[in-house]
């Protein structure tokens, strides 16, 4: 057994997973026989675990690494919700593959009430509604230009355009599928402490495309919680409005298109909606950027999108942070 005490940085490297192979084993052996180092590594390990906990707690209100399946809870909450919320639920089926007629000509942008688009394609449905403090309730169609060069790149995904009302502010009321509710709940479930889920989801479903950040303050008022600093205090004056966010996103969306394009060219496929999440800090910077779609995690696409969104500069606001869940509609 190695008798030299482990150096601090070695202990840290170990708990961070940076020590590999024989080195790690050597340290483990030493720690087993050395009470002093055992105590120190326990401290480091505890810190490490706390960091994970902190990251989890602060990672906006988005569904991430829920350690275990959310289904049972989501299902329960879903049924509760279905009873509660008098929401009409037309299940928008697989959309007809008609390409987005209006949007391309207008521009690459098109607002798509997220609920319907979501309904159209469940695995990629966005959880955003009612989840984050500020879910911009509109999608932006990307790729209308980028994607034409390969044919229907995204296989049968003619998604958003179908029959979707396009006015940005048009409340996409009553069009939540069971699935999307489920999603919304899935999104909620990892962060149950901070939000009364039923309440929030219901609200979101009731008038989703309205200025959600406006609702939030009342909504959040009651839940003093983990994310206090992170997700609330969205006083209208002190924070960004939906339009502020949209404006920046619109101005910068070509970057996302580029990423998506590169992804397609590299042989990848895209979901109908490329959901991107990020958090806006009071300085107007973005952080905690990620893609909503699990299968795209840790892909070059995510790297590209992260790098792009990282550069976005939103207007500054007073306090809190604003988590945004933004669906970019992938036009075929």
């Amino acid at each position: 057994m190695n008798t030299t005490h482990a150096a601090q940085d070695v202990l840290e490297a170990y708990v961070m997973g940076a020590l590999i192979g024989a080195e790690a084993e050597g340290l483990e052996e030493h720690v087993i026989g050395c009470a002093d180092c055992a105590a120190r590594i326990a401290v480091e390990a505890q810190l490490e675990e706390r960091l994970f906990a902190i990251a989890t707690a602060t990672a906006a209100v988005v569904p991430k690494k829920t350690p275990v399946a959310w289904r049972p809870n989501a299902a329960a909450a879903l049924s509760a919700l279905t009873e509660e919320a008098p929401v009409d639920v037309p299940v928008a089926r697989a959309p007809d593959p008609a390409p987005p007629a209006a949007s391309p000509s207008e521009d690459v942008w098109k607002y798509v009430p997220r609920t319907k688009a979501k309904a159209a394609r469940w695995p990629f449905a966005v959880a955003g509604l009612g989840v984050a403090s500020l879910c911009v309730a509109a999608g932006i169609v990307i790729g209308t230009k980028a994607f034409v060069r390969k044919e229907p790149v995204v296989a049968p995904v003619a998604i958003a355009p179908t029959g979707l009302p396009v006015a940005p502010d048009q409340p996409a009321t009553a069009t939540a599928t069971a699935i999307e509710k489920k999603e919304a709940i899935a999104a909620l479930s990892p962060a149950p402490k901070k939000e009364a889920k039923g309440k929030k989801v219901q609200l979101a479903l009731a008038e989703p495309a309205k200025k959600e950040e406006k609702k939030k303050p009342d909504d959040d008022g009651g839940f003093g919680d983990l994310l206090n600093g992170k997700t609330k205090n969205l006083d209208v004056k002190a924070t960004l409005g939906r339009d502020d966010v949209l404006e920046v996103v619109k101005a910068n969306a070509p970057a996302v298109t580029k990423c998506a394009d590169a992804h397609i060219r590299a042989g990848g496929t895209l979901p109908a909606k490329l959901v991107v999440r990020w958090v806006i800090t009071p300085s107007g910077h973005t952080e905690a950027i990620e893609l909503g779609e699990k299968s795209l995690k840790a892909t070059p696409l995510e790297g590209c999108v992260v790098a792009a969104v990282k550069k976005w500069q939103f207007p500054e606001f007073q306090s809190g942070t604003i988590p945004v869940t933004f669906p970019f509609i992938v036009a075929p």
Binding site: A18, L47, T281, K297
Partner: protein, 172 residues
């Protein structure tokens, strides 16, 4: 980081290679000594594989599932041996709301940590987010995504740890 559930076989060796350390660290963090932690981690994987083979696992979300399983095994072992129970145990193996981790930090600590994080340079925050919001991500991967060297990523992580350690010490 969704773990794909292959139709027939799950890449257990890959999972173990990636998450075993994390499981051990989770045990160490709760006061399990290294030797037992290693054994328990091993048992954990065996157990999970068995469950998987029996079709009892509908979803294999790692490392959360493994950590939970490990903590339960450790708690069980401690109970049987008449040792003091583990601290910070998750309430239920399938309770996804209160993750085991969440119980390691108090509300106050989270707040303090948040403040500490805000004071860090942006790069550091980004590294922190990547490293800790996405369990199992390799430093090399973080480096690739941010455009830094792996060495620098580790350096930053050490700085972040230092900052947060200090912040958390103040609270506790």
């Amino acid at each position: 980081m969704g773990t794909p559930l292959a139709a027939m076989s799950f890449d257990w060796s890959g999972a173990i290679a990636r998450y075993n350390r994390r499981v051990i660290v989770a045990l160490l963090a709760r006061g399990v000594p290294m030797d037992r932690a290693r054994d328990v981690a091993q048992d954990t994987w065996t157990k999970l594989m068995q469950k998987y083979d029996r079709g009892e696992l509908t979803e294999v979300k790692l490392p959360g599932l493994a950590i939970r399983q490990a903590l339960f095994l450790a708690a069980d072992e401690a109970r049987r041996a008449g040792r003091r129970p583990l601290t910070d145990m998750p309430a239920d193996l399938r309770d996804d709301h209160s993750s085991a981790e969440a119980q390691l930090v108090t509300h106050e600590q989270v707040q303090v940590a948040l403040l500490a994080l805000q004071r860090l340079p942006e790069n550091a925050r980004r590294v922190f987010e990547l490293a800790y919001e996405e369990p199992g991500i390799a430093h090399r991967e973080i480096a690739g995504r941010i455009g830094l060297s792996e060495q620098r990523v580790r350096q930053i992580l050490c700085e972040v740890r230092k900052a947060l350690r200090e912040a958390l010490e103040v609270v506790s």
